[in-house]
Symmetry: C2
Subunit: 102 residues, 2 copies
């Protein structure tokens, strides 16, 4: 999928991936891979961004000798998902415009 098309949806995808259950970087990529491919460098950039924006909080733990950071969504993060869904109507209008008269 085109990189430009991903912008604006990747943030929300990551939030959706942790919405129902706390998750960590590596697992988020695996969970999202059937829907959207994203590189590790992209994901960790996004996670940092979302943390700065208070849309999620981080909890570091140790798991079998390895560091693991769990990400938990905040009310602000949940609101971001709702906002996106409201914007969806506009996206659909764009699609209708592009597809009309064929």
């Amino acid at each position: 999928m085109d990189a430009q098309l991903k912008r604006g949806v990747l943030d929300v995808c990551v939030l959706a991936a942790i919405k129902n259950e706390d998750s960590y970087g590596y697992k988020i990529i695996k969970d999202l891979s059937p829907i959207v491919e994203l590189s590790e460098s992209t994901l960790y950039t996004i996670l940092k961004r979302l943390e700065t924006a208070s849309m999620l909080v981080v909890r570091s733990t140790e798991f079998e000798g390895r560091l693991r950071k769990y990400y938990h969504i905040t009310p602000r993060g949940l609101q971001r998902i709702l906002d996106f869904k409201n914007e969806w109507k506009e996206i659909m209008d764009i699609y209708s415009f592009i597809g009309k008269e064929d």
Copy 2:
């Protein structure tokens, strides 16, 4: 609408705006404004980009003393629209993922 969300769709919107009839910069903005807002600086950047990519060709004319450049879509531009429509399925999958379990 969020600027990031526009990336990847604006190009196709502009192509769709000239698909059925040749048009020029100022008119394209007016035609698109109900669906997507875009500034002049953005549009002319896009038009240049699409021209470089051979998705449209330009024809300069004089209209009532003012310069007017008409843009005409090419087969490659039409193909770009088709490619976008094929990518749409992936966008819908993303939306389903974000919206599931509410």
